[in-house]
């Protein structure tokens, strides 16, 4: 990328390991445990087709006789044993969790990416331009902040569905959901980036670029953006946990993903119907997975915020 990157490339890994951030990670038990848990879940989700005992959404692999098998017990009819039991249709709960986490994580990452891109762009412009544009964008942000974001996501989701022909609704549901969650969450990024941009743009290195007449877009992208990314990463990490929960909430309420594309939220909605008839595992394990995922990502975000804060070092 750069003409001045040193030739001794192999040292990059060594340097990363030696960096203050890596050290802080290695010496923080909370960060380590959260990191391991989050990595395991993400790996499990990504590799679901490879490690899941079977694809729970392929009707060909399902046997209704396997339904309602409790965890670690042989099924009364088929004698099959499932670690985490099966649900009413005989789907292996462990497999549904892997596939569900896959959907949840995809929606979470995509929503965060969407919110981040939108928020960073608007924040950079507002902070750099200032004036009426800044005022307008920030008032919009203020207004949006007065609504609970889940309500906003519901609203956006509902309106968007109204515009989509019925035939495409199922296929488009996941994208609509991503946009809905992303749109309800850009404000934080925009505010933080705007504030940081206003600080950075007055620093002398930006003035030095302006003295030689560098183009404003170049100043924004090459000078300011890299220097405002620290806090953005923190928000993005915590935002990922929130997006996953938002998706689960919407799916739980039945307005999110269709049962053909279940996420952890959908699984929890299905499972809650069986809680009082004794089949607790159908609800408990997906819930535990969601909790572990959201909590570990959130704790990682907290750690990152502290680790990047020079005053707490």
């Amino acid at each position: 990328m750069s003409d001045f990157t040193p030739e001794d490339r192999p040292n990059a890994l060594r340097r990363a390991w030696d960096s203050d951030l890596a050290y802080s990670f290695r010496t923080s038990p909370v960060a380590l445990v959260s990191g391991v848990v989050a990595t395991l879940i993400i790996l499990g989700a990504v590799l679901a087709p490879l490690i899941a005992p079977h694809n729970p959404f392929d009707p060909a692999t399902l046997n209704l006789m396997d339904g309602f098998t409790p965890p670690m017990e042989p099924n009364a009819f088929t004698g099959n044993v499932y670690w985490l039991g099966t649900d009413n249709q005989g789907r292996d709960v462990f497999s549904t969790i892997l596939y569900g986490a896959r959907t949840s994580l995809f929606v979470g990452f995509a929503a965060v990416l969407f919110a981040m891109t939108l928020g960073i762009t608007l924040g950079l412009i507002a902070g750099f331009r200032g004036g009426w544009l800044d005022g307008l964008l920030m008032r919009v942000a203020d207004v949006q902040l007065t609504f609970p974001s889940i309500l906003l996501a519901l609203l956006i989701f509902g309106v968007a569905r109204g515009f989509i022909p019925a035939a495409y609704r199922e296929a488009m549901a996941i994208w609509v959901l991503i946009v809905a969650i992303g749109l309800s969450d850009w404000v934080q990024y925009a505010r933080v980036v705007r504030g940081a941009t206003m600080v950075e743009k007055n620093k002398e290195y930006v003035q030095a670029a302006r003295v030689i007449g560098a183009h404003p877009v170049k100043i924004l992208v090459r000078h300011i953006l890299p220097n405002v990314m620290g806090p953005v990463l923190v928000i993005a990490t915590i935002g990922l946990a929130l997006a996953i929960i938002a998706e689960a909430t919407l799916s739980f309420l039945g307005v999110g993903l269709p049962p053909t594309q279940p996420s952890l939220g959908t699984l929890i909605r299905i499972g809650q119907g069986f809680l009082f008839s004794g089949e607790w595992w159908i609800l408990a394990f997906p819930s535990a997975a969601l909790l572990a995922l959201a909590l570990s990502v959130n704790l990682l975000g907290d750690w990152l915020r502290d680790a990047l804060n020079p005053r707490l070092r």
Partner: protein, 329 residues
């Protein structure tokens, strides 16, 4: 006439420091303006070091920013080598920009912490399209050596350097577009004295080597004494006196120049007392009437409270003071 590279003519700048519109309406306050620079004129000759000295609120940094185009003047104009800079745009401005550069006060803020030193120094070269490819690398290596660093330092990041070394990097960046004129805004005030000496010496050597013209901004009279050929003394946005350095230090005319000189601590003054200086700098939002210095001036007369003194040429410079004008000084 003399060979002026930069001519400043009646330069002014006011800042709107009003509260937001809604607060003003509710609190029934009028708009508030701060006059940072008022009707300042001087010229910088080719090859010389012209210094602007003043305390906080004197407007010296505002003038520097207007000259390099970081701030638009509210009035007056800046003429660079016969070409007015105000109102010039596009290609003509680009050509002009190539000919001047700036060195900033804080070497910790003036280098982008995420860029390698080589990239930082190469930015002006690339922006002005002065070289490309391996040529850029060679040029950066050469510049690093010119300022007393090594070619290998190009691959490092700014945080790997001390304050003095960073200021050398900033100087290398300023030199990279081969400018004729460099505005130096307090280039050593963030550095320790022993490092300051290195940087000042380097700047003098570079001036001799490349025939540079400096505008040197500082609050430190001893540093200015060491660097400048001619000096402008600013007080609350106005020029009080412009004089050749030697004359200013031996025979300051404006009462503020005298006061400033008396206030400088000097190593030779062990145990001796500086002359007591009365009062402090007034609030620039609400400056005194007439001559802004009159509340602190030992030579104050009625006229000073009413009228703003004009610049009266004296020798190679000028003085803006009624007392000097009327021979009371």
């Amino acid at each position: 006439m003399s060979d002026a590279l930069v001519r400043i003519e009646g330069l002014s700048r006011t800042f709107d420091v009003s509260k937001p519109w809604l607060n003003r309406v509710i609190e029934r306050e009028p708009k508030a303006f701060l006059t940072a620079v008022a009707d300042v004129s001087f010229e910088i000759r080719r090859g010389e070091t012209f210094a602007l000295v003043g305390e906080s609120g004197s407007g010296k940094s505002t003038i520097a920013k207007m000259i390099v185009g970081l701030l638009a003047p509210s009035g007056g104009r800046i003429v660079f080598d016969g070409q007015p800079m105000t109102g010039t745009d596009g290609a003509a401005m680009r050509k002009l920009r190539k000919r001047f550069q700036m060195i900033f006060q804080d070497p910790f803020a003036s280098l982008n912490p995420r860029w390698r030193v080589g990239e930082i120094i190469a930015e002006p070269i690339r922006t002005f399209g002065l070289a490309s490819g391996a040529e850029v690398r060679r040029e950066v290596a050469r510049l690093l050596e010119v300022v007393g660093l090594g070619a290998r330092d190009a691959a490092k990041f700014p945080h790997e350097f001390s304050g003095g070394q960073r200021q050398r990097i900033a100087i290398a960046r300023a030199l990279s577009s081969r400018p004729e004129f460099i505005v130096c805004d307090e280039p050593t005030s963030a550095l320790d004295v022993s490092v300051q000496a290195q940087i000042l010496n380097l700047m003098r050597d570079l001036q001799d080597e490349f025939g540079l013209t400096y505008l040197f901004i500082s609050h430190d009279l001893s540093v200015v004494r060491h660097m400048a050929g001619r000096i402008g003394v600013l007080y609350l946005g106005r020029l009080a006196e412009v004089a050749e350095a030697k004359r200013l230090f031996t025979d300051p005319r404006h009462p503020y120049s005298r006061m400033l000189l008396d206030a400088v601590p000097d190593l030779a003054m062990t145990g001796r007392r500086r002359k007591q200086v009365e009062g402090e700098i007034p609030n620039p939002i609400d400056p005194p009437s007439g001559c802004a210095f009159h509340p602190r001036c030992p030579l104050v007369a009625d006229r000073c409270r009413r009228e703003v003194p004009r610049a009266v040429p004296s020798g190679d410079g000028m003085t803006a003071c009624f007392a000097v004008e009327e021979g009371r000084g």
